[in-house]
Symmetry: C2
Subunit: 310 residues, 2 copies
């Protein structure tokens, strides 16, 4: 695939706030994304939202160049997000509650700011530039340390009452492990990367560095690893099956760290999805195209859109 | 509540095709629905679609009056429906496959015909005239011998790839009973009216006429009935919780035969839904307003709309 481009327009700063890393890049006037800069996510127990704002403003100073003025900032954040108001409603991991990112960052930088949910922004990027181009009804599912979906309905990002796409907290098996949310057997407890490691170790497996190593061991014939991988892919297929029975997208795009496994993930998940959809239409299942940079691309798109609609 | 009205316009015939009954009524020029006529659903092993068309044409002759010409027919059918093409893709219960209801009925009656999925049509009626008036993102859930949902997204009926809203085939508990679809523990096997009767009888309960009698016995102190009812309402709450985690409507409307139970259904379902949505926004849950006639109202609305958009 050719490197994606967004077309000519103002240069903007794209910042993707993750639980451990803040990723930033400048989209230039030609619509190309520059090299991604990574920083540890700034944290503050007293004012976690403001710590992010201060860190983003410092990145703006660092990445600003005299020959290319940055015209807007796109910021993607995790948790529950009110995108229209630019407010981070809450993040269990990073600690803010009802923090007005848009207004605080605009006051500090005097730039237009767009704020979006990280997974929905990645979905917007896959829809505009990646694997979901031209598809009206699609779900972009990000599987990594957590699991969430961005829903595209009739060509638009859909958030419902604000919590749409919380696929990770769908109960797949009520006799499963207890989830941080209080329920048992949520998809995240069965198919996210940490769950794969935990299942493997509960089966008596070796100490491993992560889910990728469990897959490598499975491919090398370690039967405990085979079982842990297959248990996770079955659960993920059931989760996508439930998504299909309710939302019935034409296309499901799988992204996030676990999707790096490629066909070793997509093959068994596709089979489980197809089993679940007996009698229903089965969505196509493909791998995301923008990889780790989907969130950063999403932030860039939103910043450009914010300038266009002013 | 005042009797619903659709406003002035052409008179139309509304026909709601169910698994056992065909319900028909004329919507008059003032927008009032006349008395509902019921007939056994016409069946034919050789040509099940045509048997419906012949039956609807006979009803048209019967209900046509010289002083009020019927200008269109709205027909709602179960199963998988291609509404844009007017085709019944398939009905497991009634037996057709890819039958062109719109064209066949138009050829026979020389009237404009609108064809819609029965549950989505009931959803359209609740959205236009009933409990979901003025709500952009809503789910209308019909619980009776089966369970299905009509999704309203941004004020429009949403079908996705054609199978959206198949809530009855969401797996709630993989260790549950085998479903007709081949999976285990689908919501329909746990919470539809026949499931409530089956659970009660498996617990050693008396022979009963239906789910309403199980509820009556539960309210009279029969502990087996209490258990059967509570098991069904928990499962239904989990199903609506999964719907909320994925689709996040502002409002869920409960209709169908089981909703006749009123607060005896809504109370425990609301509690289970709220438990499921820990950390997420919880949709409001209310009872449908149009009762048994929602599907017939939906057919009338679609027939009127078909005439307006010609």
């Amino acid at each position: 695939m050719a490197a994606p481009e967004l077309g000519t327009g103002p240069a903007v700063l794209a910042v993707d706030v993750g639980g451990t890393q803040l990723k930033a890049a400048v989209l230039d006037g030609a619509g190309r994304l520059g090299g991604v800069v990574r920083r540890p996510t700034p944290r503050s127990a007293e004012d976690p939202g403001d710590a992010i704002v201060v860190g983003v403003a410092a990145l703006l100073d660092e990445l600003q160049r005299p020959d290319q003025r940055i015209g807007a900032i796109g910021l993607t954040i995790p948790g529950v997000v009110d995108e229209a108001a630019g407010i981070g409603r809450w993040s269990a991991n990073l600690g803010w509650r009802d923090f007005g990112f848009r207004d605080a960052l605009a006051a500090r930088t005097e730039l237009p700011i767009a704020v979006a949910h990280d997974v929905r922004a990645a979905g917007t990027a896959e829809a505009r530039l990646g694997a979901a181009r031209g598809v009206a009804d699609a779900a972009i599912v990000v599987v990594g340390t957590g699991i969430a979906a961005a829903l595209r309905i009739d060509g638009h990002s859909y958030a419902g009452n604000g919590s749409a796409g919380e696929l990770g907290h769908l109960v797949i098996d009520p006799s499963g492990p207890r989830c941080a949310c209080g329920k048992h057997g949520c998809l995240e407890t069965l198919a996210a990367a940490p769950a794969i490691v935990r299942t493997y170790q509960e089966l008596g497996g070796e100490l491993v560095s992560g889910a990728a190593e469990v897959l490598a061991r499975a491919q090398g014939g370690d039967q405990r690893a085979v079982h842990a991988w297959s248990s996770a892919t079955s659960a993920l297929g059931a989760g996508l099956g439930a998504l299909s029975a309710l939302v019935a997208p034409e296309l499901i795009v799988l992204g996030g760290g676990l999707a790096e496994a490629g066909d070793a993930l997509l093959g068994p998940v596709r089979a489980a999805l197809s089993d679940y959809c007996a009698g229903l239409n089965v969505p196509r299942l493909v791998r995301a195209e923008l990889g780790h940079d989907a969130g950063t691309w999403g932030a860039a798109i939103l910043a450009r859109d914010a300038l266009l609609t002013r």
